[in-house]
Every structure is written in structure tokens, then in C-alpha cells.
């Protein structure tokens, strides 16, 4: 998820401030409301601050599993009813789990808003964890793992990269969970995890669309406020120790082309260097004029695709560069080309044109998320979680303007060092080799 790329923008320039009202319910749940009557629809997004970051060996993947179990029946609305009632009233939904959060995303015509609040409060307050549903859903989640990890070369390599990049902090745990844990977690594990993660005081609700502040607040008071406050997840105390030298991982697998992933440890989203890192990321990989596209794809002809991720993160995280190496080309050449570009910024910095280009790309990226009520709901909730304040959507402009070429060069020197990197390489096996 990269919405943050969009957040750093010169809003004053265009007067694109999002207007939001903010309330905290008696049980600690925070409610954000953004009115937009362009279409007769609304979006309700619920963000729970629980993810694979809150897991440990034995229960890896449980947060993601819960994302699935939340659709399998509660007290008032039994198994399947959440989806059946929602769809017959014109709504649709999805959900996603990350390292830090589990988010539930509902999109519906405004006529269904009362039902949506009722059903959400029912499952947050009174989820029924039916053992039969647990077994069936275990199969679904394992199928999702086969889809995203086991039968995907990128997925397989990324899992190994993260496990090597983090030796202590739970960001090394795969969000989908290790296979043995998916197969064996118990009903008691589930119950404990639910109690901890789904406390109302651990949740931010965002309503965006054809609804007034008064309507949304009334519904939140009626349906969400009665859910009792609970103990939220305990703080994650573990800090990743400083890396003392490059780490390397090799994966051998049937493949048409090699893959290289390089991870550098970088600070959390709230860190003062975040804006400079966003600019660094854009200059390296945004568009065909970016440094890495030019060096590896266009001129270098060593890769056919290059991209990078700077995820939103509560704790210190990573910048990960993904390189699809041309079949038959050398992964060493691809790696060297990446390191040469990193060194070029470390040694000689970036140009004023690159700086203004990055700002425009990030601004346009923010506006693309303003196009929909769903995009805005997602943006506001994530800003609240990762920056501690939804206003960052409107304010970060100034901090982007403050980023100088010297800042970009400084963060390149500080974080993008050999000692601080982990490299994972997927080496294609001959047919009939690894399974």
C-alpha cells in the first residue's frame, strides 16, 4: 500500500483540503466523517490496529485469518448473513490485513447505512466463532496462501526476504502465516486474539460519502458506543537490532526469469525523515524517467521491470526494491546497477528538476485517491493510524515543500548502505528440480 506517497503534498496550492469532522465515542472508538454527495453512496471503513505485528510463532497469520472469520456469523446476523444482507441491499465489501492493521471496507447506497452500522456493531461486539466455520475457512486461507505465496515466485521470494531482514521484530512474520500455523491454530488462540484486537478503543471508523455528520454520529452512538471498552493489544516492545552486515537469501525454484529483491531498513512513517524518503523513492522508481527504470530497464537492458515499496509502518520498516531480471541476464549485474544508482545519490545528490518532478508525482498520486469516497476513507483512516492525525492529508504539503536536495542525499547516505541491506535472489531451477 503506498497511499502515503500521496500524502506529502502542496495542498495550499490548490485548495484541495478534505473537510472532516472528528468524534471520540465514550468507549474510545474514534469516528471520522467526510461528506461528499457526488453519488448517492457511502463508504464505511473500520481500521483495527492489529496485524501480523501483534503475532508470535505458533499464531502467525491469525490476524489475517480473523479478517476472514469476521464474515462468518455473529449474534444477530448468523453465518453468511453479513454478505447476504449487504448484497441484497446494494452493498459490497472487502477487507485487508497488513503488518499493522486489519481494515474492513464497506461500499453501499446511502439507503443501506443503518443496516451497515448494525451489522458491523454485531460482529465487533458479538462474533460467534463456530468451530465448523473455522475448519472451512482454514481451507480458504490455505488456498489464498497457495495463490499468493506458494505458486507465485514473487510471493515466495518476498516471504524469505522479510524473514531474513527482520531477526527479532515481528515484521519478519508473513501476514498470511506460516503453513504449519495455518494448519494448527486452535479455537482458544482465535478467541484470545479477537478479544485483544477488536476492542472498540483499538478501532478507527471512517464514514465518507452521501451522509451528514449528524446522521453518522447518531448511528455511531446507537450502534458502536454500547460495545464495551477492552484491553487493547499489548505494546510491541521488540525493536529490530541494528544490522551489522549485508544478509543474503537464495531461493531455487522453477522459473522463467530470475528475481532480485533488495531491502534496506528505514524508519517508521512518523519519523522526521519520512518525507525525504518518499521523495527518494519517487526519484528512484516513479515513471519511465526515474533513475532505476533508466539504469536497469531502458539503458541497462538487464531487467524488464523494476519497482519499489516504501510501506506505511508503525515501527521501523523497509524500502524494498523488486527487480525482474531478463531471462538469461545476470542478477549480479542487476544488483550492481541498483547499488550504483544509490551511490550516485549518496555522492552527488539529486537535481532541482528531480525534486519538483517528485513533488508533482506525489501530488497527482494524492489527487487520484481523492477521486472516490472509498479512496478518501482509506486515506483518512491510514493517516490517523500511521501519522496519528488525519490532518496529515491536508498538512503534509508543507513538509514536502521543506524537503531539500540535501535531505534526500542525507537519507541516501544514512539508510542505503551495504551494511543495512538484505538481498534475496530467486535462481531459476532446471525443470524437474525444486518443488
Amino acid at each position: 500500500m503506498r497511499f502515503l506517497a500521496g500524502i506529502l503534498i502542496a495542498a495550499p496550492l490548490l485548495g484541495q483540503h478534505l473537510k472532516v469532522s472528528e468524534h471520540v465515542l465514550a468507549n474510545g472508538m474514534k469516528l471520522l466523517v467526510h461528506e461528499d454527495h457526488d453519488i448517492p453512496n457511502a463508504a464505511l471503513y473500520l481500521f483495527f490496529k492489529i496485524g501480523s505485528r501483534n503475532e508470535r510463532p505458533g499464531i502467525t497469520g491469525l490476524s489475517h485469518f480473523f479478517e476472514h472469520m469476521m464474515f462468518n456469523g455473529a449474534r444477530k446476523y448468523g453465518p453468511k448473513q453479513f454478505d447476504i444482507r449487504m448484497e441484497e441491499n446494494g452493498g459490497a465489501n472487502n477487507a485487508y490485513t497488513s503488518r499493522d492493521i486489519t481494515a474492513y471496507t464497506d461500499w453501499f447506497p446511502k439507503s443501506a447505512i443503518d443496516l451497515m452500522f448494525d451489522m458491523e456493531s454485531d460482529r465487533i461486539g458479538h462474533l460467534a466463532i463456530d468451530p465448523k466455520m473455522v475448519e472451512s475457512e482454514r481451507g480458504v486461507v490455505y488456498s489464498e496462501r497457495r495463490l499468493r505465496v506458494d505458486n507465485s515466485n514473487e510471493g515466495t521470494l518476498r516471504e524469505q526476504l522479510d524473514a531474513a531482514a527482520f531477526t527479532a521484530h515481528p515484521y519478519g512474520i508473513p501476514i498470511i502465516g506460516w503453513p504449519a500455523d495455518i494448519e494448527t491454530w486452535t479455537l482458544d488462540d482465535l478467541k484470545a486474539h479477537f478479544r485483544m484486537g477488536y476492542a472498540p478503543n483499538n478501532c478507527i471508523a471512517v464514514v465518507s460519502g452521501a451522509v451528514t455528520e449528524a446522521e453518522a454520529l447518531k448511528l455511531a452512538r446507537k450502534y458502536f458506543e454500547p460495545i464495551p471498552k477492552q484491553q487493547p493489544p499489548p505494546p510491541v516492545r521488540t525493536k529490530e537490532p541494528k544490522q551489522l552486515g549485508e544478509r543474503r537469501v537464495i531461493v531455487r525454484k522453477q522459473a522463467q526469469n530470475p528475481l532480485v529483491m533488495v531491502s534496506y531498513h528505514v524508519p517508521e512513517s512518523r519519523h522526521a525523515d519520512n518525507a525525504a524518503l518518499q521523495v527518494f523513492d519517487a526519484i528512484m522508481t516513479a515513471g519511465r524517467s526515474s533513475r532505476l527504470y533508466r539504469a536497469l530497464v531502458d539503458q541497462g537492458q538487464v531487467a524488464f521491470e523494476v519497482s519499489a515499496e516504501l510501506d506505511d509502518a508503525i515501527d521501523p520498516s523497509q524500502w524494498v526494491c523488486n527487480i525482474s531480471v531478463k531471462p538469461g541476464s545476470s542478477t549480479e549485474t542487476a544488483e550492481k546497477a541498483l547499488y550504483a544508482e544509490v551511490k550516485r545519490i549518496s555522492d552527488t545528490g539529486v537535481t532541482p528538476a528531480e525534486l519538483s518532478k517528485a513533488r508533482n508525482q506525489l501530488l497527482a498520486s494524492l489527487y487520484r485517491q481523492f477521486k472516490t469516497i472509498a479512496g478518501k476513507a482509506n486515506l483518512l483512516g491510514r493517516a490517523e493510524i500511521y501519522y496519528g492525525d488525519w490532518r496529515m492529508v491536508n498538512q503534509f504539503a508543507a513538509s514536502l515543500e521543506k524537503v531539500t536536495a540535501a535531505d534526500v542525499q542525507r537519507v541516501a547516505n544514512l539508510y542505503f548502505t551495504e551494511t543495512n541491506r538484505t538481498v534475496a535472489v530467486l535462481v531459476p531451477e532446471e525443470k524437474g528440480g525444486a518443488k
Binding site: 490548490l14 484541495q16 461528499d36 453519488i39 448517492p40 453468511k80 454478505d83 447476504i84 444482507r85 448484497e87 441484497e88 441491499n89 446494494g90 452493498g91 459490497a92 465489501n93 461500499w107 453501499f108 447506497p109 439507503s111 443501506a112 443496516l115 475448519e135 472451512s136 475457512e137 482454514r138 481451507g139 480458504v140 488456498s143 497457495r146 495463490l147 506458494d150 505458486n151 522459473a255 522463467q256 526469469n257 516513479a286 515513471g287 519511465r288 524517467s289 526515474s290 533508466r294 530497464v297 531502458d298 524488464f304 521491470e305 519538483s356 508533482n360 508525482q361 506525489l362 497527482a364 498520486s365 489527487y367 487520484r368 477521486k371 469516497i373 525443470k431 524437474g432 525444486a434 518443488k435
Partner: protein, 459 residues
């Protein structure tokens, strides 16, 4: 209790949705320009829809329309490829060009304060691409790599094989670009395609979003300078491939732990009179989370992460498909279950309550899916113009959906969801499933995924 809620939602959902007001203008060179203002966000979208697409690809050059589109921004007018990329990225604009079954679509989305630069980039890419041989070589090389690496992803690979297998080499929809076709493509083919199809009489333009009056004038001026050329004449409908019985193509990917499968049969074309009723039917069959296919294969049995169906509606009749994936060991169980659901919807038909739910769902999702953003509206307007439809396609949609009856739905099911002559395309570990899946079709072929290309021999 549940039916009371249903009645309530029917009353509140009755409002019709309408396309926003827009202007349509035929320019003196034959191009059509549609303009719609939607200034909520300071972004604008400009698209060109060029008649042709896959239909216009010669049999020996699948992907020609798509590669021509991909060459547009690799150097145009006064700009080299790298200068084009630099100027585009400086404004933060996004440029995309590609082709579908019946058209090439070129699209730029930009911040309205950079409108002049964006229009210049867009117009020069469309009308004055340089077709530099060195850039062509790089593009073909990149696409060769992508075509090869597609074989690493069983799901997308299976979709490509299904197209060539189902439609066959004599149907334009059966022509899929692969590493073999790319090797025979010449730059002159691309130049010829551009000259013939990128002509004003063959193009539809849509400007949508934060479009000022002066930008509208500037767009019209640039478009008016395009040579008129000739309008592409649609090809006559090719004969449907003759299938004397079910066939099964099994793509062998020995390291797969999951089997991906598509079961196909004849679909509808874009303006077919049954298009609305089949939209409603497919919503219930495999078009949403609570659909019959997903409910059985995912929710009740845990066999898969997702199962569904699609009714392809392009200018020519496409395919109607059931698609899902499951672990190797449950391949037969999953296919059997999918076929039993097909049998069930045919024998039991649909109820009034099911129909009501599907109608509410389509109407509830439509505004956000189709009419919320400027680029969505631009796409709809381009589609309406391309297919010779009118704004009633949107403005009367809810009435047409409301008018669908149980009898109509069940008649459409009997006509369009058949159980005979099904065409199965599977990608998985053949040594583990070949014998078991042979029961679905006496006519069966196994092709190793390592075989170059995605075109199985006809059988």
C-alpha cells in the same frame, strides 16, 4: 423479517441514475469529441478511442494493435523517448495506451494546472510517434520477457491459453501475443497499422473532469488537425468455432500445487438484447461474493479462495466462463461441484427473491463502479459512442434492470448457460490429475507449459 427489509430497500433504491450532461461534437475531419465537466478534483482525463483493436490484428500478427499503442510514447514529435518520459513525469501525469477486443484506448490523466503540457504530449503521441527502430527493439525485447515470465504465473497463463484454445486461430479473439508472434513482428507493420487506423474518422475523443472552456477549445484545435483518413469497417461476424463435443486442454506445470481452471461456452455480444437479463443472472451465478459458485466452492466447502463466472460482452460474441482454482488433490471435486451448480441453476431456475437481491446489488454498486470519477465517465461515453448506443444505455439502465422478470431470467439461463460442449482449460500438475480429469472430455490434450508460445495445436 428478511422480506420486509427487501421491500424497504426496493423503495429507497428506485431512483434512476443519469449520465452527467455532456457535449458531443463532430469535427470537420470526422473525429467525434465528447466533453463532460466534473470539477470536484483538480484532475482531467483525455482519452482517444480508436476503432479496431484485436479485431484489426492480422492473423499472423496478434498483438499488433497493442504494440502500436505501446510505441506511441516512446518518442513523438520533437521529443525522444527519454524526453517524452521526462516531460510527462515532470507534470505527474499518467499516460496509458493499450487495446481491447474492438478498440485501442489512449489515455492521459493530468492535474488541470498542467493541461497545456499534457495536451501537447497526448496529441504528439497520437499523431506523431517517431517509431524509432532502437525503441521498437527494446519494446519487443521487454514484451518477449513478459510473455516468457507469464508462464511463471499459472492463473494468468491459464487465461491466455483459454483464449487461443477456445476461439481458435481463425477468430480474432483467439489471437494472443506470445513469444513466437513477437519474433516475427516488424516495425513497418506497426507504422502501417498506425497510418491506417489512427485517422480522425476512426477516432472518438472524450475529455472529462476539471476541463475549462479554454482547454476544451485547445483540445478541439489539436484534434481538428488530424488527417481524416477512413473509418474502420467492422469485420463480419466470424463463424463460431465448430465444437463437436467437450474438449479439455491441460497445461502441465509440474511444480504447481494448485490447479487453475476455466470452463467456457458461447457468450453474448455487447449489444445483445439479453445483455441486461444476463447481467442479472450472472450476478447470481458467479458475479458476486454470495453468488452460487462462490458460496459452494469457497464458503461451504473451503475448496478455493474464490470462484466466479463472467459473461464476456464485446462487439463479437465472446465466451461465458466459470473460473476458479483449488489445490491439486481437490481438482476433480472442485470441477464436479462447479458443474453441479451449472446443472442446478438450469434445473431449478431463479426465484423472485434472488432476482430482487441481484437487482438491488447492481443498482447499489453501479454509481461507484461506473459514474463516480471523470475517467469512469469518459470510459462509458467512449464505449457508448463506439458501439453506436446512446445515453439511454445509462439513463434507462435501472428501468431495464427493474423490468427483468423471473421468466425472462430463466429463459436466458436455458439459452445461454448450457451443459453440453463445454470447453475445459486447466493449468496444473498433469501427472497428478490427468487420468482423473479425462472423464470430462474424450478429446483431451496435454501441453507442457515450457512449450514456446500459448497456442495449442487444434484438436
Amino acid at each position: 423479517m428478511r422480506s420486509a427489509a427487501l421491500l424497504l430497500s426496493a423503495a429507497t433504491l428506485a431512483a434512476q441514475v443519469k449520465l452527467p450532461p455532456y457535449q458531443r461534437k463532430e469535427l470537420s475531419n470526422g473525429a467525434v469529441l465528447l466533453t463532460v465537466s466534473k470539477p470536484e478534483v483538480p484532475l482531467a482525463t483525455l482519452i482517444a478511442v480508436i476503432r479496431g483493436g484485436t479485431e484489426a490484428d492480422p492473423a499472423q500478427h496478434p498483438g499488433l494493435s497493442s504494440i502500436t499503442a505501446a510505441m506511441l510514447n516512446r518518442g513523438a514529435g520533437s521529443r525522444s523517448a527519454s524526453q517524452f518520459a521526462e516531460d510527462l513525469d515532470q507534470t505527474g501525469a499518467s499516460f496509458r495506451a493499450g487495446s481491447d477486443e474492438q478498440s485501442t484506448i489512449v489515455r492521459i490523466e493530468f492535474m488541470s494546472r498542467h493541461a497545456d503540457q499534457a495536451l501537447d504530449l497526448f496529441a504528439s503521441a497520437l499523431t506523431a510517434p517517431r517509431f524509432d527502430p532502437a525503441e521498437f527493439k527494446k519494446l519487443v525485447s521487454e514484451r518477449l520477457d513478459r510473455a516468457t515470465s507469464l508462464k511463471d504465473e499459472a492463473g494468468p497463463a491459464n487465461s491466455a491459453y483459454f483464449r487461443t484454445f477456445y476461439f481458435g486461430p481463425n477468430h480474432p479473439y483467439g489471437r494472443v501475443e506470445d513469444e513466437l508472434s513477437l519474433k516475427t513482428l516488424r516495425l513497418d507493420d506497426v507504422k502501417g497499422f498506425h497510418t491506417k487506423y489512427y485517422a480522425a474518422r476512426n477516432m472518438i475523443f472524450v475529455a472529462a473532469g476539471d476541463v475549462s472552456a479554454s482547454l476544451g477549445v485547445a483540445i478541439e484545435k489539436r484534434i481538428s488537425a488530424i488527417p481524416a483518413g477512413a473509418r474502420h469497417e467492422w469485420i463480419p461476424e466470424p463463424p463460431a468455432p465448430v465444437r463437436k463435443g467437450p474438449r479439455l486442454l491441460l497445461i502441465d506445470k509440474p511444480d504447481a500445487t494448485q490447479t487453475y481452471f476455466v470452463i467456457g461456452q458461447p457468450g453474448l455480444h455487447r449489444t445483445h438484447p439479453d445483455r441486461t437479463v444476463m447481467w442479472v443472472v450472472n450476478t447470481l451465478f458467479g458475479g458476486r461474493f454470495t453468488s452460487m459458485l462462490n458460496d459452494e466452492l469457497r464458503v461451504n466447502s473451503g475448496l478455493t479462495y474464490g470462484a466466479g463466472s463472467d459473461v464476456q460482452m464485446d462487439r463479437l460474441p465472446g465466451a461465458t466462463i466459470i473460473r476458479t482454482f483449488t489445490k491439486t488433490e481437490t481438482t476433480v471435486q472442485a470441477i464436479d461441484l462447479a458443474l453441479s451448480i451449472l446443472k442446478k441453476i438450469r434445473s431449478n431456475g431463479l426465484t423472485a427473491q434472488q432476482l430482487h437481491s441481484a437487482k438491488s446489488y447492481i443498482k447499489g454498486q453501479y454509481p461507484a463502479d461506473q459514474l463516480e470519477t471523470a475517467d469512469q465517465v469518459a470510459a462509458i461515453l467512449g464505449d457508448i459512442e463506439l458501439h453506436g448506443l446512446n445515453r439511454g444505455e445509462v439513463d434507462d439502465l435501472f428501468s431495464r434492470i427493474d423490468a427483468v422478470t423471473v421468466d425472462q431470467a430463466n429463459a436466458a439461463i436455458r439459452k445461454h448457460l448450457r451443459e453440453e460442449n463445454l470447453q475445459f482449460c486447466l493449468t496444473g500438475a498433469a501427472s497428478k490429475i490427468k487420468e482423473q480429469v479425462a472423464k470430462y472430455a474424450p478429446s483431451l490434450r496435454v501441453i507442457p507449459i515450457s512449450t514456446p508460445g500459448v497456442r495449442p495445436p487444434e484438436f
